[in-house]
């Protein structure tokens, strides 16, 4: 264990809100020289906001940032860069058509004329000094994700950045590339750089970090040295939150026929997924985001074809199910991206209602507008979507109301299979409760695949729970199995 080093940056009382949402609340955080600090938290916990503030891209509503003991204010990214703070974003900020050297030198060319040879030599020297393997003359578009990340790191090293922030750096890497990154991080820390490592993956945090801070719902819950952490399970629980007791009344539903049967699904980041789902049942898929939930959902919902394995939906094979439009009335997909995927923002509610639902609204080529309007008004009323009139545009709705509209639309068709992806993410408790009730009711005539990162949600709603880690289903158990529930944190971390 290293001795506590000098504090390079101290954040105090940082708050930032977007409209009514408090992304960061009264955050205090210290970053030390030569230390790897992990910032652990679920999606939407406020990690990215906090780091954007540190990188000067966002300005806090209140609070102070102290660099080397001097209070500082960043009004642009450039000012943060100037004091030595650099960030490697999750989505790389690289110009794909340019070479590695050009990307590294972009913005810090050091003269009006460029000398490609000299630039390449300088990049090669820098890369060698930090054990980063890269070809400076290669075009970025041809590089692997790991190599692109190295280009981002080189950009910061050329700037002599002292504090390097990594936003979910392993999200796009293969395990081997991840290992190389960790080596590079440790090496850079040994050279005196401070590293901030944003992640929601427990395993890697335990491996690489010296200190960990846990962020939940915009607040720092815990900040301690990694040597003081006794179990991963504790970290996991702190990260996802204590179970709050919002009871959902679930009346018993008799298990019906199979609505979904997946056998040996492989490829696209999935490894041998097998699961089945009956009418009247909710199967919760839990896991930290990015462990294969997305490809699983997209494959089941017909947005990408399965590479290997068999999927049977409502008794039909994947191929024959998605070859006929009519079949699709029996499958409902409630995506995580409500505004960009599930709705057309500038169309009104009844048009948005019509987007996926044709049942009974079509007579030959004609739309039965009257019927659409009365039925969509019905749905708006029944699901209490505010504002309560169908002429409102979707983009004017709050996230919760939009979600209720999507839910109402998708349930209206009486589907046999419902896939709900993070259905209550970012919603307030009351709305979340309403959405849970709707899901439980819909279960009476359908099988529901519930993909969520919220354990509380999974336990309250599901009949069975499957845990995903790195594209695999690690375990699948009855929700009543308290012993397994107790170990779920470990399973999500891939440690069970």
């Amino acid at each position: 264990m290293k001795q506590p080093a000098d504090i390079v940056i101290a954040l105090e009382g940082i708050s930032k809100s977007f409209g009514k949402v408090h992304a960061n609340k009264d955050i205090c955080l210290t970053i030390r020289k030569g230390t790897v600090k992990a910032l652990l938290g679920e999606n939407g916990a406020g990690k990215s906001t906090l780091m954007s503030i540190l990188a000067g891209r966002l300005q806090p509503d209140s609070g102070s940032i102290t660099v080397d003991g001097t209070p500082t204010h960043f009004s642009s990214a450039k000012e943060a860069i100037d004091v030595g703070i650099g960030m490697v974003y999750q989505h790389f900020k690289l110009v794909e058509s340019m070479t590695v050297a050009e990307n590294v030198f972009l913005g810090q060319e050091g003269g009006r004329m460029l000398k490609p040879r000299a630039m390449e030599t300088r990049v090669r020297e820098l890369a060698n000094a930090y054990n980063l393997d890269i070809d400076p003359a290669a075009t970025v578009a041809d590089l692997s994700m790991g190599e692109k990340q190295r280009v981002e790191i080189l950009k910061l090293l050329l700037r002599k950045s002292r504090i390097l922030i990594f936003d979910e750096p392993t999200a796009v890497l293969t395990p081997q590339e991840g290992d190389e990154l960790f080596k590079a991080l440790s090496f850079m820390a040994d050279q005196g750089k401070s590293i901030v490592f944003i992640s929601h993956k427990l395993g890697e945090v335990m491996r690489v970090a010296d200190e960990v801070a846990i962020l939940r719902k915009g607040e720092i819950i815990e900040e301690k040295s990694i040597s003081e952490v006794t179990s991963k399970d504790d970290l996991a629980r702190m990260m996802v939150g204590k179970e709050t007791f919002l009871s959902v009344v679930k009346n018993k539903v008799e298990g019906g026929e199979l609505v979904l049967d997946v056998k040996g699904l492989d490829g696209n980041g999935l490894k041998g997924i097998s699961l089945n789902l009956r009418r009247g049942e909710i199967l919760g898929i839990v896991g930290v985001a990015g462990n294969g939930q997305k490809p699983l959902v997209e494959t089941i919902c017909g947005l990408q074809a399965p590479e290997k394995g068999e999927i049977t939906i409502l008794g039909k094979s994947w191929k024959s199910f998605f070859s006929r439009r009519k079949n699709q009335d029996t499958l409902s997909y409630i995506p995580e991206d409500r505004i960009g995927l599930a709705t057309c923002p500038s169309m009104n509610l009844s048009d948005n209602f019509l987007l996926t639902t044709r049942k009974g609204f079509k007579r030959g080529p004609w739309l039965r507008r009257k019927r659409v309007e009365s039925e969509s008004q019905n749905v708006v009323d029944r699901f209490s979507v505010l504002p309560g009139h169908i002429s409102a545009q979707a983009r004017h709705l709050s996230g919760g109301n939009l979600q209720k509209l999507v839910l109402g639309r998708e349930f209206f068709r009486n589907p046999g299979l419902i896939v709900a992806e993070q259905p209550t993410q970012g919603l307030d408790i009351a709305t979340a409760k309403a959405i849970w009730d709707h899901l439980v009711t819909a279960r009476e005539s359908a099988g529901i695949l519930l993909v969520t990162g919220d354990l509380n949600e999974a336990f309250s709603l599901s009949d069975r729970v499957a845990v995903m880690f790195e594209g695999e289903i690690v375990d699948l158990f009855e929700v009543t199995d308290m012993e397994k529930r107790g170990r779920i944190g470990l399973m999500m971390a891939g440690a069970a």
Binding site: H73, L303, Q328, G340, S346, R358, P365, L367
Partner: protein, 354 residues
Amino acid sequence: MFDLTIRKRQESLGWTAVLIYSGAVAMALLFSAGLLFFQGNSPIEGLSLLLEGAFGSSYAIEDCLIKAIPIYLCALGVAIAFKLQIWNIGAEGQFALGAIGATWVAITFPGHSSWVMIPSMMAAAFLCGGLWGVIPAVLKLKANANEIIVTLMLNYIAILILDYLVYGPWKSPDSFGFPMTQEFSSGAIIGKIGETNLNWGLLICLISGLVIYIFFKFTVMGFELKASGENVRAARYARFPYGRLVIISMLLSGAFAGWAGFVEASATLNRLQPTIMVGYGYTAIVVAWLARLNPFYIGISSFLLAGLRVGVENLQLELQVPAAFGEIMEGLILLTILAGTFFINYRFVRRPRP
């Protein structure tokens, strides 16, 4: 101190929008007045002559309506493609092909009654214009070719095909060498409405506008077209047949422009000749954009821009102002409105500087 930053507007503007657009048009008029002044004319006199020439007499208004007919049909076609975010700049060429198709029917089967002629000419114009519009759609889908350039090149090609026909095989023996076809037989000419100079093409406009309104509002395909234009990702999520929608929208787009060509050849010129190409297809783009692709507003803006053409003719007569003055004003109005839209979509926010 305050920093002025720009934010996207969330709310929609009511009457302020009208104010902003009026301001934009005023700016365009100001520039145009400057050009008149530059040419040595009194701007006030010029602009009033323009207005008077366009809307000052019942004859002038009739003329505006007559010119508005082809503009309206072309713009309606343009709007259908634009709705799907397909940039069809080819109304001019589709217009030419429509005129060619209608003329072929008119001079190949002369002498039939208008009950036979008019519908078959319309069908021919629909097909020719429509298929000319489908070419860029297919090239876009199959080869990923930019539809803007393809439609433009097809415009030049279409006009040259028209030239070839009227200078060559279709040239009338009794035209004294002028490039024109023989005059259509009376059955092939769209009649005038009552005692006015207006032709029944106006009815085609009204019906087409209504049909398009109904198409977008009451048919499944119209709805899918509109929704795909709004959000392509959502269209994929809802599994709309995107390729088919592109083809159909370009077919319709070209077909309406084709009808415009048919009306011009049949009602206005009573024959096919190169002077049929006066740039209605390009004006239509301005019209459709100004009208925000709404069939009703297209009616208004095509009438206004037809008025601009008629007014400029008056200016040409009275002050010897070149005909290109109309194009300048069209371009200016479009540019100022585009710039003005900024104030509709964005607002300025003052942010305290700490």
